[in-house]
């Protein structure tokens, strides 16, 4: 036994001595020889024929999409049409789902509940709270994602998206990020949770964290309706009616561009500060173009992306719906919890150019940005006591007529400043709980999750405060 041990040690000692002779870079030589061997084998057994023309086709497309003059317009047109088809195409199915889930099933459930004498509070918590929040999230979230993700995946499958990363890399390199962040950012315009998951395509640890943390600066699908509504009411009104549409569209686009700007600035400062020491290695493969596999793409994008994200959203929406109903209906000395909270934060909220209703809406509508506006409307009715709109306290609703919304909000004390700041705050606030949870799942770190959550909200409060101060100075 003892002899054996000595023997082992002498082997290790010999090995250690030999290592000094081999040198530190023997891994390189190892890989080099593996490649050499593989090449010898493949030369012997692999024959290629008629590959030339296929290759020239790739080269032709590559030259067009990376050309100085045609590259950007093509990219812009392709991505813009994806967004356009998503927004236009989602309208009808969204309305359909809403009419079934919200306008038909919701009253039916209410009637059913009252016919079998379920106490009003259980009925309220479950049907007006949990069910309605879920129905809302499904109807607003499902159609755009079901359209956006397959189209995006088709572009990816075709081989175009890596070229976008290739073209955009120069900008992202300057801010310490990876060109593929252009893709995760674009994905974020569909849904931030999906954008965070998409950051898996970046294999360098530092750049991946940057992409994850800054994804929230992409204005997601759930925030576009808020932006459009508020811009129409508060920005469109500032100019003569004929230009109203253009002005509000311009305002929404500027907010989205501001988001891209912030994502670059934040990427830069993250890579220079907290993420300075994280390992970083660039790699980007440009796969050959190939006809997209349409059925497979539809399946994977619907199941893996759409339903996956939707499921997480529903899981968070139901408890949030219950909380929303409760804060509006639990009264202490005749005043609801919501009103207590709104009165408490109002001084601070008004100081930064928002109001207590907005703050509360963002706190309780954390599962999905989609339900922020319904919650704001419901809370405004609750606080102002306006009658004739909505369907009872704690029940979220939307108004079909934009003038009614405008009147209701102005009755709630909203000014142009409130509108502008809400648009900014909608861009710069914590990610929805689905995204926060996804960030945690992807990074496995509370530290980065917390940073990704708190950084945008701090920025939002700071920017709103600045805008409010400037507004008060100049008006």
């Amino acid at each position: 036994m003892k002899i054996e041990t000595i023997h082992d040690n002498s082997i290790i000692a010999t090995a250690n001595k030999l290592r000094w002779e081999v040198g530190d870079y023997f891994h390189d030589s190892l890989i080099e020889s593996i490649y050499k061997e593989a090449e010898v084998i493949s030369n012997k057994v692999v024959t290629t024929e008629g590959k030339k023309s296929q290759f020239d086709f790739d080269k032709f497309i590559d030259q067009i999409v990376t050309n100085k003059w045609t590259g950007f317009p093509i990219m812009f047109l392709l991505l813009a049409s994806v967004f356009w088809i998503t927004i236009i195409g989602a309208n009808y199915p969204s309305g359909l789902i809403a009419s079934v889930l919200v306008d038909t099933i919701h009253p039916f459930l209410k009637n059913l509940a009252s016919s079998i004498n379920i106490p009003w509070y259980i009925n309220g918590v479950l049907i007006d709270g949990g069910y309605l929040a879920m129905a809302w999230v499904v109807s607003v979230m499902l159609p755009p994602m079901a359209i956006f993700f397959p189209m995006f995946t088709l572009l990816e499958d075709f081989g175009y998206l890596p070229r976008v990363a290739f073209n955009m890399d120069n900008i992202y390199r300057r801010v310490g990020a990876h060109g593929k962040q252009a893709l995760t950012m674009t994905m974020g315009f569909g849904c931030n949770a999906a954008g965070v998951i998409a950051a898996r395509i970046i294999d360098s640890p530092r750049e991946r964290l940057i992409a994850i943390i800054t994804n929230n600066f992409s204005l997601c699908n759930g925030r576009w309706p808020t932006q459009i509504l508020i811009a129409t009411i508060f920005i469109g009104n500032l100019v003569p009616p004929i230009y109203g549409g253009i002005a509000s569209a311009a305002a929404v686009v500027s907010v989205a561009l501001l988001g891209i700007f912030f994502s670059l600035v934040v990427s830069w400062s993250l890579s220079k500060t907290v993420l300075k020491g994280e390992a970083s290695a660039f790699s980007l493969e440009l796969p050959p173009y190939r006809p997209p596999r349409i059925l497979q793409t539809l399946y994977t994008s619907l199941i893996d992306r759409t339903l996956f994200v939707l499921w997480r959203a529903i899981v968070f929406a139901i408890p949030a719906g219950i909380v929303i109903w409760l804060v509006a209906n639990v009264n202490i000395q005749g005043i609801s919890l919501a009103e207590y909270f709104i009165r408490f934060v109002d001084p601070f909220a008004l100081f930064i150019g928002l109001n207590g209703v907005i703050i509360l809406a963002y706190v309780i509508a954390i599962p999905a940005n989609e339900i922020v506006i319904p919650t704001v409307l419901m809370l405004t009715v609750l606080v102002t006591g306006v009658t004739g709109v909505g369907s009872g306290s704690g029940v979220m609703f939307e108004l079909n007529n934009i003038d009614d919304v405008s009147m209701l909000l102005k009755a709630g004390g909203w000014t142009t400043l409130t509108g502008i700041n809400l648009m900014l705050f909608s861009l710069l606030h914590n990610p929805c709980s689905t995204t926060i949870f996804t960030i945690y799942k992807e990074t496995k770190s509370w530290k980065w999750t917390l940073l990704a959550t708190l950084l945008p909200i701090m920025m939002g409060i700071t920017i709103c405060l600045l805008v409010a101060q400037l507004w008060r100075i100049f008006t």
Binding site: D24, Y25, H27, Y35, D169, S280
Partner: protein, 340 residues
């Protein structure tokens, strides 16, 4: 009212006293520990300096030690006395030598320092200038166990990113083998290992030129009558007779001395080249990724496409297209096809 006041003052006094004298967490204890730590750092740094001197065959004096530790000579002589009491150093006249225990202690510190530098180089993006500073702090902190785990994680590397050997777990380090200055080839870079002090005239001539052990030199040109070297930005001419007194250690592996300085970033789109090597500054994941793509010496690579903003560039290598940034292709050495 007054009673209450007294109680409050008493409580306050007790909590302040507790804050200062509390065992382990109290201020006094913390202060003591910081002092002990500082003392430990100074002792370890002194050992390290002594080792460096012996490794480079120079003599350590009290002056050089206090210079290295940036303390007064009085303080450093106290440190030496302390080390002597611990049996780590021995004094012979004015010269200070390490005992075998002292040497292995010093090597342990150097092992941590160099491993940590290797770790920073391979696994983080911390800049080169900061490695040494951070390693100076870390070398006094890690326990034996942590060091061995770190070494295992790094694959028990032999050399730190500067090319210096890392002592092994059994605190062994290969002897430095010096060669004659005249044995160097033109363009070689080497560290002066030893300057022979006999005959004295030659020695004083060499020291008056400003040469001393530890300096990095580069051989520019050599012939039978003259040897021209570059040393700390200055060019010096040394006659061959003088040069026999200088022993040097070449720096960098021979595999690192790549003849071609033409880089991949220089070839225009459409041109082919053969890879001859990867720069040493491509490290860790960065290097592994490139090797995975098949970017290894001997591979044919072709520039295929420039991004619309000019950087990165796509290269065709072994049937796939890979985009590389300029700061990567700057570090890949090639030989052009037409020059082969």
């Amino acid at each position: 009212m007054n009673d209450n006041l007294i109680v409050v003052i008493l409580l306050l006094a007790i909590s302040i006293l507790a804050f200062i004298f509390y065992p382990e967490k109290g201020l006094l204890n913390k202060w003591r520990r910081i002092k002990a730590n500082n003392e430990k750092i100074l002792l370890e740094d002194a050992l390290k300096h002594l080792f460096e001197c012996e490794y480079n065959s120079t003599d350590c004096t009290l002056i050089s030690i206090s210079g290295f530790l940036s303390t007064s000579q009085g303080h450093s002589s106290k440190i030496i006395v302390k080390l002597e009491e611990m049996g780590l150093v021995k004094r012979i006249g004015t010269k200070i030598h390490l005992t075998p225990e002292g040497k292995s202690y010093a090597l342990k510190i150097i092992r941590i320092h160099r491993l940590w530098e290797k770790h920073l180089a391979d696994n983080t993006s911390i800049r080169e200038e900061e490695w040494h500073i951070l390693a100076e702090l870390e070398e006094h902190k890690l326990t034996d166990d942590e060091v061995n785990r770190l070494a295992a994680k790094l694959g028990n590397p032999l050399k730190d990113p500067h090319g210096d050997p890392i002592p092994t777990e059994n605190v062994e380090i290969p002897e430095q083998k010096g060669i004659e200055l005249t044995d160097l080839k033109e363009g070689d870079i080497a560290k002066i290992y030893h300057i022979e002090d006999q005959p004295l005239e030659v020695f004083s001539k060499l020291t008056s030129l400003g040469l001393s052990p530890g300096m990095i030199i580069r051989l520019i040109e050599k012939n039978t009558t003259n040897i021209r070297i570059e040393c700390e930005g200055e060019e010096l001419n040394i006659s061959p007779i003088l040069s026999f007194n200088i022993q040097v250690v070449p720096i960098g592996d021979s595999e690192e001395l790549i003849e071609s300085r033409d880089t991949l970033s220089n070839i225009p789109v459409g041109e082919e080249a053969v890879i001859v090597g990867l720069s040493k500054s491509l490290r860790g994941q960065q290097r592994r990724r490139l090797l995975d793509f098949g970017i290894v010496p001997g591979t044919v690579i072709k520039a295929r496409l420039k991004s619309l903003s000019g950087d990165p560039t796509a290269y065709e290598v072994r049937g796939t297209t890979v985009a590389l940034r300029k700061n990567q292709s700057d570090k890949i050495f090639i030989k052009r096809k037409n020059l082969l």
